[in-house]
Symmetry: C2
Subunit: 349 residues, 2 copies
């Protein structure tokens, strides 16, 4: 377990009781995963620092987990020892509600079990994530990872990947669409890769004109500089679809002005404060704003298979475990292209 | 022309130049309509009182116009003298843009010609509406009205009707859907009639529990009292679709909480001030908010034909022209069930 700052702070306040982060033995349907890499998601910072409230400590962040199966339960039939395996943002759900049955476990009526800072389905037992060397998860919530892809770069697909894949697929984005990915960070860079792979004319909307080269390399046809009123005006009423990854408050009406009639803007970024929404921005042009949250297990597997076929991974900077707090600081300055991936082998050293 | 308050005020400031409100002779493609009734829309008040800014005076409000054809141009082939005829919120558009060609003239790229307080396509000649005895309109922008319906009660279909019909149709509302109509006024009461006619389980969301009987009479299965937290909680996560007619600022997040996964809320009401939108309200459950604006000519005709077949009209209170300012005051107190319809014959008296 890596001592992230929030954890360290909490530890100082309340010394830890004897505690196991491998709380669960390998049950009949479980797989034990030896974690190779874990991606670092912006939400790790929010939760480690208790910026969303309700954080529980001690905490082991991390929900972009990849590694290898080192043990399986007696009833496990989907994995064998030695297989690559991945775990995303949740490790369980009720399995019987309307949403679970529709492969939308992320919207489980009784609440999914977040991979960390959450509870098992008993609503009592805390969950611990991927900034660790091992994790035990029911095979139903474990993903198969393509053999041909670099593991460190696969890790972020489990959150940043599926988070952008899911809305692009749900809203049927592809050839003939002019699509804008708003914000070029961990999520945004995956959005650009997917949207362009699906055949859409993909643009990056960014405050940083300096990202134009990177945007092009990732598959975009160009950038729209959102701070540049003339640039925004040039693209007014021209987009079919916008995918926003912005997590700070912003003027959503300005982006709605970029949509054509019947255009849709979907957000996967969630600013803490509410945005000012002018309903006229939607009424004029029958426009919509939607939200999307990660994706279900079935959909996540489809994404991973697609990535395997098309050679798509995240752009990562691999770091050893001890660099995590530094990585957080750099993320807050957008100083990473585009995702940190922790090499968990560094913890054994 | 009826002297509404805004007009009277402006007239006092700037005496009128010699002016004709029947500015246009009947051209080759025009029909001259003898106006029988004109519905009174809330937007008439906003514009007559210049509450949206940019009002032009003298003004003749009114865009829910029904009457009979009394003259036709040489090339008119869709109407003959004596026909019933209606005019809605616009009287022209560019006819060649992508939206006009898609029968979405309300989103004309060059701007539709609003029936009043707008300009003809020359962008110079002002338009004057239905608080009058006659109007000349190109046949392409004139609707056929079912013979069997009471004219006074047909008038509001031209705005309140199509405004609620269009989103319910566009979002394919029908059997199997739990639908909420938010606000039971001129628009809302038409929304209830249409949604229930389409087979949806229709609820009225209102701040007034006293409207339960009326809601049932109009076709609703029940009301949800939006000020009653327990009632709102009872319906949390249960609606497929909400259609909001609210035109004052409100907590949109509370309504989004009523939607199930993949649910959609569409607004046709436009509060002047922006609303506080928490993006989490959309993200949790992949929900959407959309907007909708009246409807195109083709769609309006479809609605009128449907109303003829199903005997659907607006609930109206017919008033003589001289009661218009009193009607405005009563509308502001929601003291009308559910639309005023001006009897224009009263102007001849």
């Amino acid at each position: 377990m890596i001592a992230v700052e929030g954890y360290a702070a909490q530890s100082a306040k309340a010394p830890l009781a004897p505690w196991s982060f491998e709380r669960r033995d390998v049950g009949p349907k479980d797989v034990l995963i030896d974690i190779a890499f874990c991606g670092v998601c912006h939400s790790d910072i929010h939760q480690a620092r208790d910026e969303w409230g309700g954080s529980r400590f001690p905490m082991v962040p991390g929900h972009e987990i990849v590694g290898h199966v080192t043990a399986i339960g007696s009833q496990v039939d989907q994995f064998k020892v030695g297989d690559r395996a991945g775990v995303g943002c949740f490790v369980d759900s009720c399995r019987v509600c309307v949403n679970c049955k529709a492969d939308l476990e992320q919207f489980c009526v009784k609440g999914m079990s977040g991979t960390y800072n959450g509870f098992e389905q008993d609503k009592v037992t805390p969950t611990f994530g991927g900034y660790s060397t091992r994790i035990v998860v029911d095979q139903k919530y474990v993903l198969h990872l393509p053999e041909q892809l670099e593991l460190a770069a696969v890790a972020p697909l489990l959150c940043a990947g599926i988070t952008t894949w899911s809305p692009l697929r749900h809203w049927n984005i592809g050839k003939g669409h002019k699509v804008g990915i708003v914000g070029l960070g961990g999520l945004g860079h995956m959005g650009v890769k997917f949207a362009s792979a699906f055949g859409a004319e993909t643009w990056v909307l960014t405050t940083s004109p300096g990202k134009a080269d990177d945007a092009a390399r990732l598959g975009a046809v160009g950038v729209v500089v959102s701070k540049d009123a003339a640039d925004m005006e040039k693209h007014a009423g021209s987009f079919d679809f916008l995918l926003s990854t912005i997590s700070a408050p912003y003027d959503i009406n300005a982006y709605l002005g970029l949509l054509k009639v019947d255009g849709t803007m979907v957000t996967v970024g969630a600013p803490e404060r509410p945005l000012d929404l002018h309903l006229f921005s939607l009424i004029m042009g029958r426009k919509s704003i939607g939200g999307s949250l990660i994706g279900g297990i079935k959909e996540t597997q489809e994404m991973l298979d697609y990535c395997g076929e098309h050679g798509i991974v995240s752009d990562v900077e691999v770091i050893p475990a001890e660099k995590i707090n530094e990585a957080y600081e750099r993320m807050l300055k957008s100083d990473v292209r585009y995702r940190f991936s922790i090499d968990l082998k560094s913890m054994a050293a």
